[in-house]
């Protein structure tokens, strides 16, 4: 029974849907964690000068839910899921870059790179993945002299 459910889920969501579902859940949970118990604001002064992390948590939750919802959409229509997934890590990377450049948080540069690669980069890569693909046409043998 669990196997059948997993197969049904895999068939319904497809490659891209699975990815969106996973990161949608992750982002929503990350946002909820800010609401439940806000972490240290070190390196996030760019954001906290406007409002507290409890408020910024809703960015993660909203984007996470859009991403989660886009998992059920057909390929092509799921683009908003990928765009929504990009926003929170891009905002966090910007804040950490700002903190690193202003010298408030020396670790910020590395955290920003982590957000840009492990979040933004992975999401951008996943956006290029088709549901199915055909292998490229085999290359024809190059004309040339046969080895003597």
């Amino acid at each position: 029974m669990p196997c059948r459910a997993a197969r049904w889920l895999h068939r319904t969501l497809g490659r891209r849907g699975e990815f969106l579902l996973i990161i949608g859940i992750g982002k929503t949970c990350w946002g909820v964690s800010f609401l439940v118990d806000p972490p240290s604001t070190a390196g996030l002064q760019l954001l906290t000068q406007w409002c507290s992390l409890r408020h910024w948590a809703w960015l993660w939750i909203a984007c996470g839910l859009i991403t989660f919802g886009s998992a059920l959409l057909r390929i092509g229509r799921d683009r908003y899921g990928f765009i929504a997934a990009l926003i929170p890590p891009a905002v966090w990377a910007t804040a950490y870059t700002s903190a690193a450049l202003s010298g408030e948080y020396s670790r910020g540069g590395f955290v920003a790179i982590w957000y840009c690669t492990s979040h933004v980069g992975v999401i951008l890569w996943a956006a290029t993945v088709p549901e199915h693909s055909v292998p490229p046409a085999p290359r024809r043998a190059r004309k040339g002299k046969a080895p003597s």
Partner: protein, 116 residues
């Protein structure tokens, strides 16, 4: 400084979003192509069976026509033979009555000479 970083972050986010949208469109097209290729590959055996059936129908038609032509040819050949026998009888009868029959046409002479 912060404003510049914020601006850069916003521009970067917009560019990343545009890339994601474009990549999604490309992925959607690739998926459609793959689905079409799979459908064509799946339909190919049926197409081949249909082609084979057409070839068989054409061959059967041509075989029927050939049989008909052969039957007609056989009938004509027997008619010509019977006619030739009749002409020979008539010629013999005319010579018996002292009448010289007219010379055969060129085509007949040629046939007698070459066999074709």
């Amino acid at each position: 400084m912060n404003n510049w970083v914020t601006l850069l972050g916003m521009v970067g986010t917009v560019l990343a979003g545009a890339f994601a949208a474009r990549a999604t469109r490309a992925a959607s097209k690739a998926t459609a192509d793959a689905t079409r290729a799979a459908a064509v590959a799946q339909a190919e055996p049926n197409q081949r069976a249909a082609d084979l059936a057409s070839f068989q129908a054409i061959r059967d038609d041509m075989q029927d026509e050939l049989d008909e032509t052969k039957t007609e040819l056989r009938s004509l050949r027997s008619l010509v033979r019977s006619f030739a026998g009749y002409v020979t009888d008539l010629t013999t009868q005319m010579r018996g009555h002292g009448i010289e029959p007219p010379a055969p046409p060129d085509r007949l002479t040629e046939y007698d000479r070459t066999g074709v």
